[in-house]
Symmetry: C2
């Protein structure tokens, strides 16, 4: 089996003595698949070399001692920048999450055409590498929006392969898709439509199916997509929590929480995560419920990413501003209403999830949101989940979560209030129901579904 | 018959001697309906008093001498501000045109709840005034997004009336509508769904029908909407063109154009009109086609509105910047590539439409865009229309227009190039086809449709 994804399971750096060291890569796909990969000796992972060290390490044989087979595609840095930063992150991510400020963006000019050609070329390089690597009839599982053209390109090269594509982010409506240049929208839809295409939820699958048919027109048949939701890796979470580092983090979080009620969130800093409105709702909660002042603390593990892009740097500044405002308004000598942790330290994020009384997951739009399942799976306090209707996970968890309307601050403040004041017995019943729903699917279930659909 | 709209057909100001003078009001509804009103003695127009002068003029009997009956609803200025600027212009307009920068807006907080109550109260005041005014069985035609709750409220007060609502702007998808607080989305849809609701195009009518059913759920029946497109008032346009003011404007525009090819646009400065990308496309055209430099001029009648809102002031500044850039880049001592006219002087805009060789109408989203019909209806040069797929008028005019993709600058530049270089005989054939399509419907047809549907 071959997994094809933009980011690989490892990145390589040089040790003090010049030898290469493999580190586990970041991102949700890697953390879900890596434990599975170790138990599947037939698995090869094809990904982009992200740095010169990656390329040199592979050339020096550093990939040989790893728990699973890794092949890296070398890419010219300028080409890779256009593919990844310009097309994938600044156009497709914003399009599929509904984040464009349309008055100003997107603008599809001649510079975009060059970037689009780079996107197609990088996809072609992945298809070529997979075609070279795959024995006859092999299963090839292509991941996400950075590689949307790979399925079509690979099928053209190797009709014998069993290829599936899986999208981890939302899909957009036909009206939104038509914001792309006409040929770009068509190429993206045609590649996915040529075979099995999977999504975390029925909502995104249906949206994709409608959109692809509208964009491709009546002459082109679109294979009905499949739905395969991912679940948390409970054993891996437990191992982190029980490690020395995990226990240290747990103590630090306990100290920060003192005996207060804990509202928690853990997110990459990203506009779609709706972090600012979350703090506005908390501010409103403290205003409306004086009894909560001093008794509650918001532990927010939110860590920067993509800070080289203006939009992300600006959003980070807006988060810092609103947090400062809330702490200035309500804080006392002994109490910081919000404690922000931007360390991107997984054991700390996990300790926060375990300690939380209420977990706020309020995205504007989200493919799944694995945190919404990891939180309930590892929580130790019968914690309540306040979950946005716009998170993919809402489809599975809605019956046991408190619903959040992500644009409605008043409603969100009310949801937090409801969650904090739920009677103990109802908390317990709800938490056990939630735990059952959140752990109903494992990474192995998800991978099994992909393999099965690739073969159909 | 009673027409209910936010803005009335006249506004009143005081003369030097203190007596009141009526001036024709602005906006598309007024310019389309006023000529009809004069020929219908049974018509009363109910609108908001926009200023203290309006209120005082009506009290002093200034409405008596007008060509049609006018009643004004007096509103507290603070209440009116919340209704009109906050809810109608900053929320509903942005929602229905897809203009929110969702990372930051909308935020539905406690201040919005107060504004929403003001919106409902103003709508109730209109419903009350219409109920007081209407004889039994009267036809009442309620206009647009400022008064979306009026149909439901008026039906509750007066089940005997024949009430229709007509939306002049686009309608949004269910996913977008759910950005509103749940009860707000439901109230808006329920009011329209309770009776005949009309739209300019099948696209917005279908969108409304889908959205209202999704928002209201299976228990509520939604009346299928009707489609009634508006057309230009050709006689009124001709009267302006033939007036002394019109002839002066024509000469001024001829002088500005010299013997050059004229690309034209005429728009209120408004993000949905996509004015900046239009100039970016023109810039690209001059870059790609050196032969056009000095031979073409872009006459742009774009006039400011709502400049008290930050978003509009910012957009105006962005337009001025891109125009300065294009003129700096390509201009010579004898040639300004873009001539901007921000005077909001209708005879001048009309003279530009008549003189244009190519008319650019490239909105991001637009209910109809009457300019796309007025331009071809009055043009004297076999002008070509470059029309966005996202303008409502595209549904009727597509066969005779050159298609514009509003986000795709390369494509738009190519469309302008095609339009400028069309062979003369094809220009003539196309222009006559376009004129036929653009004038197929008159304001009287539109009003007749509304009256008929109100009675069904």
């Amino acid at each position: 089996m071959i997994i094809v994804s933009h980011r690989g399971p490892y990145s390589f750096t040089r040790d003090a003595d010049g030898s290469f060291v493999a580190r586990r890569g970041g991102g949700g796909i890697v953390s879900s698949l890596l434990p599975l990969g170790a138990s599947r000796p037939d698995l090869t992972w094809l990904a982009a070399a992200m740095t010169a060290d990656d390329t040199e390490a592979m050339a020096a044989g550093a990939g040989d001692g790893l728990a699973l087979g890794v092949r890296l595609v070398d890419l010219d840095p300028d080409l890779h920048h256009l593919h990844y930063n310009v097309v994938a992150n600044q156009v497709l991510w914003f399009l599929f999450h509904g984040l464009f400020d349309r008055t100003r963006r997107p603008v599809f000019d001649i510079a975009f055409r060059a970037a689009w050609e780079a996107y197609a070329e990088v996809n072609e390089r992945f298809a070529e590498a997979a075609a070279d690597l795959a024995p006859p009839g092999e299963t090839v599982l292509v991941q996400d929006f950075q590689l949307m053209l790979v399925p079509g390109m690979l099928r053209a090269r190797r009709p014998d392969l069993r290829i599936a594509h899986f999208t981890h982010i939302p899909f957009c409506s036909a009206d939104d898709m038509r914001m792309l240049p006409t040929d770009v929208a068509r190429d993206l839809c045609a590649s996915l439509a040529s075979g099995p295409a999977g999504f975390h939820t029925h909502r995104w699958a249906a949206q994709y199916h409608d959109t692809a048919r509208a964009v491709l027109g009546p002459g082109v048949s679109v294979r009905p997509p499949f739905v395969a939701s991912l679940g948390p890796d409970i054993a891996a979470l437990a191992a982190v929590a029980d490690s020395a580092e995990g226990r240290t983090a747990t103590r630090a979080v306990e100290d920060a929480a003192a005996d207060r009620l804990v509202v928690a969130r853990t997110d990459r800093i990203e506009p779609s995560k709706n972090i600012v409105r979350g703090f506005l709702a908390y501010d409103r909660l403290l205003e409306a419920r004086p009894g909560l002042r001093g008794r509650v603390v918001f532990l927010a593990s939110v860590y920067p990413s993509r800070q080289d892009l203006d939009e992300y740097a600006r959003y980070t500044a807006e988060i810092n501003e609103v947090v400062a405002r809330v702490n200035d308004r309500w804080g006392t000598r002994d109490w910081h209403p919000v404690i922000l942790d931007d360390s991107d330290h997984f054991p700390t994020s996990l300790a926060v999830l375990r300690r939380s009384d209420v977990l706020l997951v309020n995205p504007l739009r989200d493919g799944l949101n694995l945190v919404a399942k990891e939180g309930p799976a590892c929580n130790r306090r019968d914690g309540v989940l306040c979950l946005s209707t716009e998170a993919g996970a809402y489809e599975e968890l809605r019956d046991a979560a408190v619903t959040v309307h992500p644009y409605d601050i008043e409603q969100t403040a009310g949801a937090l209030d409801d969650a904090l004041t739920l009677p103990l017995d109802e908390r317990a019943t709800r938490a056990s129901h939630l735990r059952r729903l959140a752990t109903a699917r494992t990474p192995a279930d998800w991978l099994g579904d992909l393999v099965r659909h690739a073969g159909e």
